[in-house]
Amino acid sequence: MSSENPSFTDFNLQQRQKQRQKWEDAMISPPFGGFNQASESGYLLLSNPNNQTKILDHQEDGKSTGTLGSNKVQDWDPRAMLSNLSFLEEKIHHLQDLVHLFVGHKGSGLGGQDQLITQQQQFLITADLTSIIVQLISTTGSLLPSVKHTLSADIPNGQLGGHPFPPMAGMNCSPQPQNGGGSKVSDQSSKMDVAGDCGAGQSHFIEEHETKEEEDADEGEYLPPGSYDILQLEKEEILAPHSHFCTICGKGFKRDANLRMHMRGHGDEYKTPAALAKPTKESSSDPVVIKRYSCPFSGCKRNKDHKKFQPLKSILCVKNHYKRTHCDKSYTCSRCHTKKFSVMADLKTHEKHCGKDKWLCSCGTTFSRKDKLFGHIALFQGHTPAIPVEETRGPAVLSDKMDGKEASNKGRKHKFQLWLSCCRKWG
């Protein structure tokens, strides 16, 4: 079934396949799997200190708690809610058990020989606790009234978040990749990312501002319709001011870096270089899957349902496109008072060049270069160069403001110097 635009079922199929792959990826990197898996992993943690194997075990079950079925979201909302709630219930029970365990451990192993083991176990328990909390928060978010959109949970860079629920604000748990089980757990700065934003989170540092051209001109690349995944975010998600959320206090941040800075205030474990480091893109064994985005606005040619669908390349593209095309323009240029923009970055770019055209024709057109003005005048009858009225008497300096054309010719420069001296003599 290879149609122009992947049909809905194909899409879901792809989603499922992707997610399975991701979960397999998770074996390598973070020990905290997707929500559904981790829910079970909580039980398994108790028996086996090695988190990763648990996940593996669980994965081999290949079981999913019916959350994948929620891809057919429109019909299954109540069921999703129910499963979320039951999941939450389980989690809370886990939490209780763990705390009991902790109390138990504290009570018993205070002898010197056992201390090492106790410490280890304490580490593990703390880790489990943290993971459970993270999952709780994200799942709770998912319970908020949601629109029927399918949400992708792509976190290329090895972060997990295979969350098939359509979250409202896109609260996806994507914990940091952990290296080594016994190493410091404290560098886990889990944060809430907008689903899909995780991927773009890395690129935020560099390309926070994407120009319009990248959004529109897709001519350089042609992707056959089946070779890429199409993901669609909701309007609220696109327009959300904050994409990263602190798991501890819930404060929102636009950038991953800002969030990490904020996390320092929540404890020493967030002040380590590893916690503060930019989460790098980890090499995945799976070749990079191409993702393209669809605009949620119906009728837009960037919408996947449009006949001439042209996908957008990244989350930032989606955001910029949506704001530029489907939102009203609220920022006005402070210089010319005429141009309006919906994206702040566009306004800044305009203001950089606003008013730079100095060459003015009598018809009112401004030009950035003199030769352009003269070319324009040559074409039309009756147009003359317009001389600004506030022109002050320029100094009779010979060498000022010569056109770059003469001055650029090096061979003539020497002659020009010679000639200048003549001018001073006779001029």
Partner: protein, 483 residues
């Protein structure tokens, strides 16, 4: 038309004279300002006739301009070169008084007017055809934009208007479509762009002076495509060199006069590329330019209309002079002023080939001796102007030949030569002599001057720098000299 009607029975003869007739009479008095003044003071009728007749005015005082223009309402040519201070208010007066009669105005020696005055001038005097704004160092683009309003303008001089830029020239180009002559000498801020626009918009240009502008070859294609261009001056355009000129493909068929003085960046290659196709070329001035070599002379071989060449200050090669001698067309004017390398043999050869020379300038050709003068005077019988200042090797006997052979001479410059009284006596036979320069001639005395004074009745200019004057000589010849 007012004539005095006398109450007596006598018929007033002046009644038969119409105004046109009196105007014609007054035209004959144009050379004699005092006669005209007397005429106007005769009576009121003649006063008013004379005041309507006068067409040119050259006032000495600008303050009296309003009263003067009130008296003379039909002034067509206003020459304000004697008034150094002309302000906007005075230009306003001129514009209101002359209105559409004014055709030409000369403000080349005046300052303190701005674009406001020019604007008022141009708005009232819409028949203005010539404006001379040379030396307007304070005039800027706004002034040029004001000039652009003169739609009938044909001649515009903007020499030394250093503040005018391409923008101003662009305005002029678009506004003055009938422009025929434009002089942009020393307008340093004008560049290729402005000139391209000028050449594009003003198709009637006949005379273009681009001396000392910082232009390159980029403007030349459009300039050469002017259909009526006759006179092109590219003096001191150092931005144009051989390589640049060799890229030219256009040719200007109408070109008659070319001046490329003070351009040492090009050689005959560039020159030939520039004048390629200019069949009507008549005058060529290459002062202080490339060396006059055989190649250069050869590339001028084909221009059958060439009559006047000026090679002042160039390095002249004998082979070049001989090649000039081989030109099929006969030169009328030739100048080797201050050239090094002019020698007897080659010069003699040349003048024998160009027998129709009328003007010859061999100032500072220090190698010239008797033989050259002999050849010159024997071959070129119709010489009217000879300049041989500082030809110090020419002996005094040579000057006798001028009087003997070249009787049509009108101008003779023998400053700093060995001419003596015998020579002067001989020269006095040239009855048409009007200008004689005898500065630093140590061998002349009163005798020679007496002869000159008595015979040369048309003499107007006499230069006797460093001559020891004897009063007796003056007395005897003073009656022959007119003031």
């Amino acid at each position: 038309m007012k004539t005095n009607k006398k109450t007596t029975s006598n018929c007033n003869p002046f009644d038969f004279l119409t105004e046109e007739i009196i105007f014609t009479i007054l035209d004959y008095l144009n050379d004699d300002p005092f006669s005209k003044k007397s005429f106007s003071l005769t009576c009121k009728a003649l006063y008013s006739i004379e005041s309507h007749h006068r067409k040119t005015l050259k006032p000495l005082r600008a303050e009296l301009l309003s009263r003067t223009l009130h008296r003379y309402p039909h002034i067509e040519h206003l020459d304000l070169t004697l008034c150094p201070r002309i302000e906007d208010s005075m230009l306003n007066v001129v514009s209101l008084a002359c209105k559409d009669a004014l055709c030409s105005i000369n403000l080349s020696r005046s300052r303190f007017f701005t674009n406001i005055g020019l604007s008022s001038l141009v708005s009232s005097c819409f028949n203005l055809v010539e404006i001379d704004l040379s030396n307007g160092v304070e005039l800027n683009d706004l002034a040029a934009a004001a000039i652009a309003e003169a739609k009938n303008l044909e001649k515009l001089w903007l020499s030394r208007c250093k503040l005018i830029t391409d923008m101003g020239i662009g305005c002029v180009a678009v506004g003055c479509r009938k422009l025929r002559l434009i002089c942009l000498k020393w307008c340093l801020k004008v560049s290729d762009l402005g000139l391209q626009l000028l050449a594009l918009k003003c198709k009637e240009i006949r005379s273009l002076d681009l001396s000392y502008l910082q232009i390159t070859e980029k403007c030349l294609p459009s300039i050469l495509q002017l259909q009526h261009l006759e006179d092109l001056v590219l003096e001191g355009c150092l931005g144009i060199d051989d390589d640049a000129l060799s890229t030219l493909q256009q040719s200007c068929k109408s070109l008659k006069t070319l001046n490329m003085s003070h351009c040492h960046n090009h050689s005959h290659v560039g020159l030939s590329s520039l004048i390629n196709g200019a069949e009507n070329l008549r005058e060529l001035t290459l002062a202080y330019g490339p060396a006059i070599t055989e190649d250069l002379a050869k590339c001028l071989h084909t221009f059958s209309g060439l009559r006047s060449v000026k090679f002042d200050g160039c390095l002249v090669k004998c082979s070049g002079v001989r090649a000039i001698a081989r030109w099929p067309h006969s030169l009328k004017e030739l100048s080797f002023s201050k050239c090094s390398g002019v020698e007897d043999d080659s010069l003699s050869f040349l003048v024998q080939a160009h027998k129709e020379l009328t003007k010859l300038d061999i100032t500072c050709c220090r190698k010239i001796t008797y033989d050259s003068v002999d050849s010159i005077t024997s071959s070129c019988r119709s010489l009217t102007s000879v300049r041989m200042e500082s030809c110090s090797l020419v002996p005094k006997e040579a000057f006798v030949l001028f009087g003997q052979r070249c009787e049509l001479i009108e101008e003779l410059d023998v400053t700093d030569t060995k001419i003596d009284d015998e020579g002067l006596k001989s020269i006095s036979r040239c009855s048409k002599l009007s200008s004689l320069k005898l500065g630093i001639c140590l061998n002349i005395a009163d005798d020679g001057l007496k002869h000159i004074g008595s015979s040369c009745s048309k003499l107007k200019e006499l230069d006797l720098y460093r001559f020891c004057l004897n009063f007796q000589c003056l007395h005897s010849s003073s009656t022959m000299f007119k003031p």
